[in-house]
């Protein structure tokens, strides 16, 4: 009878616990990371009586959380992958959206610029047409500037968000360590009973961490969990946590992530994979940097080619064309305290890479000092000795080593990094646009043959005025080609200057050389190119004379306009527009891939979350059912107590 009371009481206690736990579950139905709890009830040990074992009620053995550590790990890895793609996609969409805008993209500005060049070619002496060209040149500069600024903004935003993410990682690490501590204490003081809610809290923190970066955990016997991030960096070891921080990189627009552990720091940028941090870094490496560098490559190619061609022409005043756009600049930093300096310039935009370079010299005395130029992107290098030549061409750059010293160590910044930012229009006076060529051909009026000389071009113009010896000569005669049937096998042109001094001769066989291009180098002037055609008679002459007053000459403008479609970039395979198209395609493709992968990964994440939640999540209907069920059980147990009392009372009444 006493057993009945005790059984009843044990039921009351047990069902109170169950109801409390159900209440706890209901209260935490929306708590993130909460695992529903269940009270484990066991029948109490029976008492041996003469009639055998008689039950003595129920006892609460444990309150456990419903939790599947396998699903939890799977959830974290899905979460890592999904957040990485989300972070990547978030940034990628920004660029994607911007490049689609015709008012920001480079394409229309390029077209407008070259159309303006053609308009000048239509009417070379028109100042308004030239002014339009300068305006379009300025627009191009602005467009490069806008894009560079945009990429710069994204770059800064990216650094900012990396900082936030690292702070989050540090805070999470600290909190996990702190909860580790509480769990260790709780486990110790409870004799091994699990502090479910603390575990949930810690799991939630680790889940949060997994959204930021790749996470691995390792549970210790004392209940603490060691947390490793990235490729195994120990963020939390027992009750201590380490931190991540940001440090400036060699590249001024970039940063490195540093792992700080017990006073020592290591750069771990490349090791931080997965999660928002991994996604952010991957976006920078795969999309932002290539876009910036390709834009820089276009800027370098455009400035270099336009300047080159412009310098072959003469302006309205007959002066040689100045730099149209600012010449590409390649900066370098000296890392040692020794004397010496280095200068680097762009000489072939089609070979330009986005890499940084180092230039080092050894200790051998000049001029037998050895040098090594290393391309940082793949560590390939060339080396030699200074005495063998100080002008070294490598990857479209020319390294001028004439002023370097022994034991020098230079870092050459990526040539393309700041090129778009540095791109600017230098010509301000419309008269300074050089659309004419310095020379014009003239057919002698006494020629009797049908020969012609055309397509005159100039390359590597050194001085817009013909050399003194030629220019001083009376016109018409500066460079004179006279056909002589006695030259070569089938005749040819003798080339002389006005003074009759020979500049060489050209083999011209009318039968086979008709329409061929020839080039004559005039010392102090440059290469003069022309095509010869037709059948000359003996003594027929052509002259190439100074194009003084040639304000209606549009030949150089035509050459400039040809640059629009010339394959000047990427090893001679791409025009400016092509390369810009590659940026668009690359950004578009990567964004599209990120969208698709992100959708897939988020689907997987939702699936994993659903699996995890189906085990651990609270279902209110279920809890309501439990509430009804255990309320009834509780009522029943109280009836047992009541019955026990009634029996006792009956017994007492029997003796009254």
């Amino acid at each position: 009878m006493a057993d009945l009371l005790l059984s009843g009481l044990s039921g009351l206690t047990a069902f109170r616990n169950v109801l409390d736990t159900t209440g706890h579950n209901i209260a935490n139905a929306t708590t993130e990371g909460y695992s529903r709890q269940r009270v484990e009830l066991d029948a109490s040990n029976p008492q041996l009586t003469g009639a055998g074992f008689v039950g003595s009620g129920v006892s609460t053995t444990n309150v456990s959380r419903i939790y599947d550590s396998f699903l939890s790990t799977q959830f974290r890895s899905s979460s890592t992958a999904a957040s990485e793609l989300d972070a990547f996609l978030g940034f990628a969409s920004q660029i994607d959206g911007v490049l689609a805008n015709e008012n920001i993209g480079l394409s229309t500005a390029l077209q407008d610029f070259f159309n303006a060049v053609q308009t000048v070619a239509d009417d070379p002496s028109s100042i308004p047409a030239r002014q339009v060209l300068l305006t379009e040149g300025k627009a191009l500069e602005n467009r490069f500037g806008t894009l560079d600024q945009l990429f710069g903004d994204i770059s800064r935003q990216l650094t900012g968000s990396l900082e936030d993410q690292l702070n989050d990682v540090n805070t999470l690490g600290e909190n996990i360590a702190s909860i580790n501590n509480k769990i260790v204490v709780a486990l110790g003081s409870s004799g091994g009973r699990i502090p479910n809610d603390l575990l949930d809290q810690r799991d939630k923190l680790i889940d949060d961490l997994s959204a930021l970066v790749n996470v691995n955990t390792n549970e210790q016997e004392n209940g603490a969990v060691n947390v490793f991030i990235g490729s195994g960096q120990p963020l939390v070891l027992g009750i201590t946590s380490n931190t991540l921080s940001i440090t400036p990189s060699i590249d001024p627009d970039s940063v490195e992530i540093v792992f700080n552990q017990g006073g020592s720091s290591t750069i771990v940028t490349k090791l931080m994979t997965g999660g928002e941090i991994g996604g952010t870094l991957r976006f920078k490496e795969e999309m932002l940097d290539p876009a910036i560098h390709t834009l820089g490559e276009i800027a370098i190619g455009l400035a270099y080619s336009v300047n080159q061609q412009h310098a072959n022409g003469v302006d309205l005043d007959g002066d040689q064309g100045l730099n149209f756009f600012s010449a590409p600049v390649v900066t370098n930093f000296k890392n040692d305290a020794n004397l010496g300096s280095l200068s680097v310039s762009v000489t072939d935009p089609s070979q330009i890479t986005s890499s940084e370079y180092t230039v080092t010299t050894d200790g051998t005395a000049l001029p037998n000092t050895g040098y090594t130029i290393t391309r940082m992107s793949d560590n390939s290098s060339i080396s030699g000795v200074i005495s063998a030549g100080t002008s070294i061409s490598y990857d479209g750059l020319t390294f001028d080593l004439s002023a370097v010293n022994v034991n020098n160590d230079y870092t050459v910044a990526s040539p393309t990094r700041d090129a778009a930012d540095n791109f600017s229009l230098l010509i301000t006076d419309p008269r300074d646009i050089a659309v004419a060529l310095p020379i014009v051909s003239q057919k002698s009026t006494t020629n009797t043959g049908t020969a012609g000389l055309g397509n005159v071009a100039v390359d590597g113009l050194q001085s817009a005025i013909l050399p003194a010896s030629l220019a001083a000569a009376p016109l018409p005669a500066s460079i004179i080609l006279t056909y002589d049937t006695s030259l070569f096998a089938q005749g040819g042109y003798a080339i002389t200057d006005a003074g009759g001094n020979s500049l060489g001769s050209i083999d011209y066989d009318p039968a086979t050389n008709n329409g061929m291009e020839y080039s004559v180098n005039v010392t102090g002037f440059g290469d003069v190119k022309f095509t010869l055609s037709g059948q000359p008679d003996n003594g027929d002459t052509f002259s190439l004379i100074d194009n003084t007053g040639g304000t209606g000459d549009n030949r150089n403008a035509n050459f400039l306009a040809d640059l629009q479609t010339a394959l000047t970039l990427s090893g001679g395979t791409a025009s400016f527009q092509d390369l810009y198209g590659q940026v668009i395609a690359d950004v578009g493709r990567r964004t599209q891939a990120a969208e698709i992968n992100s959708a897939a990964q988020n689907g997987l994440l939702a699936q994993t979350l659903a699996s995890k939640d189906s085990i651990s999540g609270v279902n209110l209907d279920e809890e309501a059912a439990n509430l009804i069920r255990f309320q009834q059980a509780y009522q029943a147990a109280s009836q047992v107590v009541l019955t026990s009392r009634t029996i006792f009372d009956t017994l007492l009444g029997a003796f009254r």
Partner: protein, 408 residues
């Protein structure tokens, strides 16, 4: 899955609504802009093709602008040369009229006066400018007046150069927008192969007329030792020389027998008499062994002296009028040539114009296929998306209303 947590159920419902909202939004934007591709990621390769197509269109537009420039200049040049031709023809008429033997010296001077005026007009035409103030015939020296000289100065020079400007009117298609003045007016070859300008010709012509120079052409026939049966042909009449041994064609309108003598001068005298007797279009003069024949009618055309035997040496004394007229014809032919070139170029421009427009049209249609949205498809998709969004929302509300707690 037998069991689903309440918060997950709610989250799934919301997720499905959010996803559908995003789709509705995308479709709405596509419809309102009429574009299928909103950002490069919507169709990366399509976006790049659009860039290329836009560049092509932009280039074609520019080619059309260039083409208009070239067309304007060429038309202007054609009109100018037409005026020059009219003037030259008038001068030619004046010359023929002026050298007519019936004119007095004073008549000729007044005709020469008009010629000088015509000359100045042609110089002015040759110095024409285009719409933007560039000289048409100065070559590259567009701001330099190409021709200096006038009827007053009488000496003419070309200050331009031989530069010819090319304009791009299509991919790989260029057209010259003018001819150098050197070619059109200046470097005209005379009968000796020397360059002479049309201005110099006109000036000389007018000066000759004004100074009343005669314009007849005379041919001096120096008679040597003529052999029997040799034949000289003048104006289509064959003069057969005969030492009396006979065997020659019978004498008629085109065959004349001329007796020869051992003395050249006697033969010459006989020859002169034969010509005088048989050809009334010629004035004949004889001096020792030289017979001089001159066309009676002054004006155009050369005396047809042909098939002289080796023993008779014929020298045509050049009278400037005919050379001048020839030279004017050369100039007229040159201008005709140049106008033919211009006409050819204008034809090229017209056909290139069509090519450009067709090309642009085809690019525009390709572009539209890539870029533009199929409105019917988009709108039906939009409606479907809206319906399913509404369904998701209603389902969400219904499911959320289901709770056992409602029944406690």
């Amino acid at each position: 899955m037998d069991r689903i947590s309440t918060s997950l159920a709610q989250q799934l419902g919301i997720n499905s609504i959010l996803l559908q909202q995003a789709q509705v939004n995308q479709t709405q934007q596509q419809i309102s802009l009429g574009k299928r591709i909103l950002t490069p990621s919507d169709d990366p390769s399509g976006s790049v093709r659009l860039l290329d197509l836009n560049q092509s269109i932009s280039r074609i537009d520019q080619f059309q602008d260039n083409l208009d420039y070239a067309r304007n200049r060429l038309s202007l040049s054609d009109t100018t040369l037409n005026s020059v031709t009219n003037n030259l023809q008038r001068v030619r008429e004046l010359a023929v009229q002026g050298f007519n033997g019936t004119n007095s010296a004073v008549d000729r001077q007044s005709i020469a006066l008009e010629m000088f005026q015509r000359l100045d007009e042609i110089v002015a035409l040759a110095n024409s400018k285009d719409g933007s103030g560039d000289y048409l015939y100065a070559g590259f020296k567009a701001q330099t007046e190409p021709f200096s000289g006038s009827a007053q100065t009488g000496s003419f020079s070309f200050n331009g150069d031989q530069g010819e400007r090319y304009l791009k009117v299509g991919e790989n298609r260029t057209v010259t927008d003018g001819n150098s003045g050197a070619e059109v007016f200046f470097d005209l070859k005379d009968k000796d192969g020397n360059a002479e300008s049309v201005f110099a010709t006109l000036y000389a012509l007018a000066t000759d007329l004004s100074s009343n120079r005669p314009a007849a052409e005379e041919t001096a026939l120096t008679v040597g030792t003529v052999a029997h049966a040799e034949t000289a042909t003048i104006n289509g009449i064959n003069y057969h020389f005969d030492d009396g041994s006979g065997g020659l064609p019978a004498a008629d309108a085109t065959n004349v027998i001329v007796a020869i003598n051992v003395s050249s001068s006697v033969t010459a005298t006989n020859f002169a008499a034969a010509i005088t007797a048989n050809d009334n279009t010629l004035n004949v003069d004889v001096n020792a062994d030289v017979v001089t024949v001159t066309a009676k009618t002054q004006g155009e055309g050369e005396l047809i002296v042909s098939a002289m035997p080796t023993s008779i040496n014929a020298t045509t004394v050049s009278i400037p009028l005919y050379d001048h007229l020839d030279q004017i014809d050369t100039a007229l032919n040159r201008i005709l040539d140049v106008r033919a070139q211009i006409g050819g170029r204008l034809n090229v421009l017209d056909s290139q114009d069509n090519v450009n427009q067709d090309f642009k049209l085809s690019i525009e249609s390709t572009k539209s296929q890539i870029e533009d949205i199929d409105m019917a498809e988009a709108i039906s998709r939009f409606n479907l998306q809206i319906v399913s969004l509404q369904a998701a929302q209603q389902a969400f509300v219904k499911v959320q209303g289901l709770s056992l707690f409602n029944h406690l």
